[in-house]
Structures are given as C-alpha cells and as structure tokens.
Symmetry: C2
Subunit: 228 residues, 2 copies
DNA sequence: AAAACACAGATTGTTCAACAATCTTGGTGA
DNA sequence: TCACCAAGATTGTTGAACAATCTGTGTTTT
C-alpha cells in the first residue's frame, strides 16, 4: 500500500508566510496521523513525502525531528521513519502518566471548574441518549482536558495533549475499536457530583479507580488482538 | 561578548558513529548550557556554532529544533536562536508542574522507595555538616528525582528532567544565587519520616507546602534582582 | 527445494553552495 | 538628537551531491 497514494497532495504554497516551514510540516503530518489517514506502522518515505508536501528533504527532516520528540513517529537509523504504533508497554506508560497527573489536578489544582465539568457531562449524556457516539467520545475527551486544565499548568496540558494523541494512535491501530467510552459516562458523572460536594480527594481516588479499570480493559482488548 | 570565544571547539570527529548527528549536537549544547558555559540570553549564531561543532548548518538547525521543543532555547524567526532565560512567569509554570506531579508521586506512586530516600537524606545531612554545599544540593536533587521515580513513569521522569534543567537555567541567570537548599534538608527529612510511618498523603501535603514556600522565596529573590 | 550469498538499486544521513527574505549596522542628512 | 537609508550579515529554505546502509531479487550452494 502506497502512502503517497493515500496522501492528498497538500501543496505548501498558499502564500501564508511560513512561520517555520518545518513546524507546518510537523503539524500537517500530525493532523494526518491523528485523523487516521496515516495508520500506525506506515512508512514515511522522505522522497515521497517531500514531493507530496512540496518541501525539501531537509525541511521535511526537521519536521520529523519534531514529531520524533513527540513520540508520534518512530525513527530507525538508516531504516526510515514510521508512524508510531504503541504496544502494551506504551499503554501502561500512558496510564502511569494519567494516573499521576489527572487525580493530582482534581485533588489540588487551583483552576478547578466544576460548572464547566457539569456542562460537559450533561453534553455527554444527551449525546449518549441520541446515540451519537462520536459526540459522546468528544465530550469525554473534553472532560479529561478540563481535569488537566485544573492543574493550571500549560506544560502539563501540552504533555497530556501529546499523551492523548498517542492514545488515539492506539485506537487507530485497533481496526475494530469497540465503544470504550459509553459506560464511563455515568462514572464521570458520579465523580463530578463528588466535586460539587467539595470532596476533591474522594473524586481523585474515584478517578484513579476509573483509570485502573480503563487500562485493564484496554490491555485486555489488545491482548485478544495480539494473537495475529 | 563572543560566544565562539567561550566555546571550546568540540570537533565532531571522534570516529564514534553517532546515531544521529543532530541529537549529538543537541546533547552537546544541552550540556554546555546546563554547565553555565552558555548563559541565558546568549545568541547562538548558526555559522559560528556550525564551525565550532564541525557540523553543517542544516544539521545544527535540526539540533536547534530539538532544543526548542525542550524550551532550552528560544527561537525567534529571522532573528536567531538564544539560550532561554526564564522569567517569573516561567518559574510559576515550573512550580505548577512540580506541585502537581511530585505530591501525586508521593501519594500514589507504585514505585515509592523509602529506604533510598532515607539514604539520600542522610547524605544531604553529612554534606551539610561538612559544609559541602554542592554535594548537598546534588543530594537534594537526587531526592526529588526519587520522588518522581515513585510515579513509575519514564515519561514523567523525562518531563521533570527538562523542567529541572529549566530551573538550573534560572539559577544561572541569577549571578548571585544564594543558598536556597540548605534550610530545606530538615524539611525533606521530616517528609521522609512521614513516609516511613506510611503517611503518604500527609507527606504529599508537606511536599506541596515545601514547594509553595520554595516558589515564593525564589520569586522574591528574583524580584529584588529585576530592578536592574 | 530450502537456505545462504551477492550484487544492483533504492533510501537515509549529511554536507555544500546558493538564493530570497529579513534583520542589523553604520553613516548621512535634516 | 533623531529619522532615514543603503550595504552587509544572518536566517530560512532549496537542490544537488555523495558515502553509508538497507532492500529486494536472482543465483549459487547444500
């Protein structure tokens, strides 16, 4: 399967002054990967990509350097660049991060915004009732972003953005991703109720348990697939 | 002041094939900056540096891309690259991260190693008694690294490594860095005693208070300097 | 026929030279 | 003193080049 074929040639041409062409390259590829147009494990040939994007090989490589630092791609010396395909170990790492940061943000974050969380949970419920899985998953994602935002740290939000991008990669790698989010909506709601009552530590513990079960479930599903 | 002059020409020549020259460049510059040989605000000229390091401008730029993603340098389009010089806002950001992650690692981390912590604290005390400030500061640093390691997450250790590198940059920017660490040794000791008693949450709260006062003290000192 | 080998072609890692765009500098004139 | 301006330096990006390494395909060997 040719990557170039799957690539809608996005000429880097539209007058918009290149703040940094390499960062434009990186964000373009990041989007393609996030949207699943470039699936995990796919090889990114320098010649093909530089032509498709309309940039030089040198600039493309600079973009690669960025994506590599974000763990979105995997660079193997003299072999090439591949879209990252997280394995079980990576999933454990992702959850180790989440289990540290998210409960801490709930327990101690100075920017906790309970009303906003209630709002998002309500949206998740209506989306769930309407059967709109995508919208519900989005609401769920928004909820976790709100949790992180409680920490009041831009850096952590950035880190978690990268970690969650990695999570999406996991789901893209599983062609038959079942609906992992639906049955967590009620749990998130209970969590927010605790927050409304000012029980931040209890909410944090709840979130930790939530992440524990989510990790186990995800790893379990992955194990059934890894028999390939 | 010429940067090239301050730069001990480190030829990139010693046969040892570097997996990626750009990452060698990045780590070399990282070290130079960490050791204070390149002080905050210094401009890193592409021509001068590429000559001094014995690499092409292209490769140097790839290294810059890496350091930029680590916030160690500051890249201004068409202007050049400068060693980052964190300001008060950056310090607040650093402490927001620490105040989230470090207590969480203490409270919930699966890899908590109390004996190792006791060991490090003991070292800090003997160094302090011997008047060896450097050794004491190192022990203090080790202590915080142990705290992070409790989280069991490589990614967080990496993130904190970058954050602490930034902290060192703050100290390098203050030519007259007073001894900030000495009076925290006893506090850390009290903290570890709580851990020995199994009181992880109390230790976490203690650590948060510690970080609060450290931030205030650091910001206070910075304010007295910023009158320049 | 299966496994080891060999070699031509493709790909990556890095350098060099070039050029437009932008910034900096030092001098000029008001 | 200040605004202006041209010459020179620096950055951002490209394209071609080359050595080193990998890949694939066909051939030899067992």
């Amino acid at each position: 399967m040719n990557v170039k074929a799957a690539f809608p040639s996005i000429p880097h041409q539209d007058g918009s002054t290149h703040a940094h062409t390499s960062s434009w390259v990186a964000s373009t590829l990041r989007r393609q990967i996030a949207e699943g147009r470039l699936h995990p494990g796919a090889k990114l040939s320098e010649q093909a990509l530089s032509e498709a994007l309309g940039v030089s090989r040198n600039t493309l490589r600079e973009g690669f350097t960025l994506l590599d630092s974000e763990l979105i791609i995997n660079r193997i010396p003299n072999r090439g660049v591949f879209v990252a395909s997280p394995d079980a170990e990576d999933i454990k790492e992702i959850y180790a991060v989440r289990r540290t940061i998210e409960p801490a943000a709930l327990a101690w974050g100075p920017n906790l915004d309970v009303p906003a969380m209630e709002q998002v949970i309500a949206e998740a419920f209506t989306a769930l009732a309407a059967g709109d899985i995508q919208k519900m998953a989005d609401a769920n994602q928004n909820f976790h972003e709100l949790v992180i935002a409680s920490s009041g740290s831009e850096l952590l939000q950035e880190l978690m953005g990268r970690v969650l991008a990695r999570m999406r990669l996991v789901f893209h790698a599983m062609s038959d991703a079942p609906d992992f989010h639906s049955h967590y909506v009620e749990r998130n709601a209970a969590l927010v109720r605790k927050l409304s009552d000012g029980q931040r530590f209890e909410a944090a513990e709840e979130l930790r348990k939530y992440l524990d079960t989510a990790e186990i479930e995800l790893l379990g599903h992955l194990a059934t697939l890894d028999v390939r």
